[in-house]
């Protein structure tokens, strides 16, 4: 895949000694959705701020389409749209003038058709003449997205784009993000909603305390780190595991009516068939079987902790 952003040995420290980014190297590929996950204060927003020209790095290098963000900031900034984490919009402006202002700021002439299409997509068209101060939190967040998309960026940074947005609207936003990707926009997403990353992302990066812990394709990550569990509901209560079943390291839950078996799907033999046979030999009747795969959230919590 063709890299669109490359970050090499990026460091950011403040005068008080706090290290926000510690030797971060990362490549974002053209056309992908990259989810950057990390707890509060991990360095996600600092990283975005440096790439978009809001913050100055202490050392290291960031290139957007081979243009250094420090040496050629005007070129690199022109390719990027940013939806910031904080809902910061001039409160006394109308939606339409605020979005037109953003387009102009990025050096693009007025385009009524394009702006109308964005506002309609984000269900803002009917409210276009309302002042920002009159809008709900969710609507303000949509205005931020409209402003970021107003200049047709090649790369879009979404810093917690659906924070404070209701479930229905969040799903609508996901559709918009997916359609942007289909139109060739590269999307870098930071989020607290792991479900969001799991649904949207092609690749996932974990960041904590200013360091990138891991970058991996989402599916590979889930398969590599993902454990599967088999929950076996049985018809009679058992107090202890029979000797023939000890090798399976079963866990007894649900007051003795459920057995939990952990296995790895990547192993050639999962042990499920022999377990079921052994349960039958022990005369344990099955009522139900449920399988669960660990989510990105489980992997993330495991890594960060």
């Amino acid at each position: 895949m063709e890299p669109i952003i490359s970050i090499n040995s990026l460091c950011k420290s403040y005068k008080n000694g706090f290290i926000a980014l510690d030797d971060v190297s990362l490549t974002i590929n053209k056309g992908e959705i990259f989810a950057l996950l990390g707890p509060n204060g991990a360095g996600k927003t600092t990283l975005i701020s440096i790439i978009t020209g809001i913050s100055i790095p202490s050392s290291g290098e960031v290139n957007v389409k081979n243009f250094d963000v420090i040496k050629h900031p005007l070129v690199s900034k022109g390719m990027i749209g940013l939806v910031p984490q904080e809902v910061s919009i001039e409160p006394f402006e109308t939606i339409i003038s605020s979005v037109n202002f953003s387009r102009g700021l990025f050096g693009k002439p007025k385009d009524v058709k394009h702006i109308k299409s964005i506002l309609k997509q984000l269900s803002l068209w009917d409210k276009r003449n309302s002042k920002i101060i009159e809008l709900s939190g969710g609507m303000k967040r949509r205005v931020l997205i409209a402003k970021a998309l107003s200049h047709e960026p090649e790369i879009l940074f979404l810093d917690e784009p659906t924070a404070g947005v209701d479930v229905e609207l969040r799903k609508d936003m996901w559709k918009i993000i997916k359609s942007l990707k289909n139109n060739g926009v590269t999307i870098i997403l930071t989020t607290h909603y792991i479900e969001e990353a799991e649904y949207l992302a092609d690749r996932v990066g974990f960041i904590n305390k200013g360091k990138i812990l891991l970058v991996e394709d989402k599916e590979i990550l889930i398969n590599k780190f993902g454990k599967k569990t088999l929950s076996i509901n049985i018809d009679k209560k058992i107090i202890s595991i029979p000797k023939t079943l000890i090798k399976y390291k079963l866990e007894i839950v649900n007051s003795g009516y459920t057995l939990i078996y952990n296995y790895n799907i990547n192993n050639n033999k999962t042990g499920i068939t022999s377990l079921l046979n052994d349960l039958s030999s022990e005369n344990i009747q099955l009522k139900d079987i449920i399988t669960n795969q660990s989510s990105l959230e489980d992997i993330f919590v495991d890594m960060v902790s």
């Binding site: 809001i54 100055i56 005007l74 910061s88 050096g107």
Partner: protein
């Protein structure tokens, strides 16, 4: 240059003026009329002519300068401080706009506002006292340069200020005293010798003197000195703005 960005910033700033028209235009005009009533009519009739000019007319350039300097500094300072305060400056910082674009957009809009206020005050004054401008082209040039340089100065204050207190500190505690003591209501030559010398360290004295020359063809100092001073001040302020954006001082983390 990013012409669309300049146009957007300029239009946005001008539209802000329309939203706050009473504060932006009416307030300075009313306060200037009050100065005319008090100093021009009430007290002015008791004061002799200065250099053969009626006192009410004599104070017109000083009053225009008083309003224009205050408005230039506060307008430009607020224009950039407010985006800093609410966080929208990040949009500006992440956009492909150069420092020149920002200066033309923001300072250009503030200069337009201050210049307009200056002209409106002049027209208002003309309705109250008979004014004749000896050098009208120089008057417009000097007014424009004054607006531009003090808007640039105000822009620096807006970038520098951490809070609203700091934002008001310079206009209230520095600009106002300098203008009042800079010969707005009197000629420096009317002061005792010692105070004349002290006044010469006040930069606003040269501004008011130069501006007064364009009206009456006489001044305390040569017009060239005043013109050079205001041009130098403009260059200095804009150099500081360039440095602040280049280094990110008080702007970028």
């Amino acid at each position: 240059m990013n012409f669309y960005a300049i146009k957007s910033i300029y239009k946005y700033e001008i539209s802000r003026t329309y939203r706050t028209l009473s504060q932006s235009l009416l307030a300075p005009i009313i306060s200037t009329i009050l100065y005319f009533v008090v100093f021009g009519s009430a007290l002015g009739s008791k004061i002799d002519n200065i250099e053969g000019i009626e006192y009410g007319v004599f104070i017109v350039p000083g009053l225009v300068m008083l309003s224009v300097l205050m408005q230039s500094v506060t307008n430009a300072a607020f224009a950039i401080y407010f985006p800093k305060f609410i966080g929208t400056i990040n949009e500006l910082l992440s956009a492909p706009v150069s420092t020149i674009d920002i200066i033309i957009g923001y300072i250009g809009a503030s200069t337009t506002k201050s210049f307009s206020i200056g002209i409106i005050i002049l027209i208002t004054a003309h309705m109250i006292v008979p004014i004749k401008i000896v050098h009208p082209i120089y008057m417009l040039l000097f007014l424009f340069l004054t607006c531009f340089s003090f808007c640039s100065f105000g822009f620096i204050i807006g970038l520098w200020a951490k809070n609203f207190e700091q934002l008001n500190l310079v206009p209230m505690l520095i600009i106002t005293p300098l203008v009042f003591l800079g010969g707005s209501f009197y000629s420096i030559s009317m002061l005792p010798f010692f105070w004349q010398k002290i006044s010469m360290i006040n930069p606003v004295v040269y501004l008011i003197s130069g501006f007064r020359w364009t009206f009456f063809d006489f001044s305390d100092f040569s017009f060239i000195i005043s013109l050079s001073a205001i041009i130098s001040f403009s260059i200095l302020c804009n150099f500081i703005i360039f440095l602040m954006f280049k280094t990110g001082y008080k702007i970028r983390t």
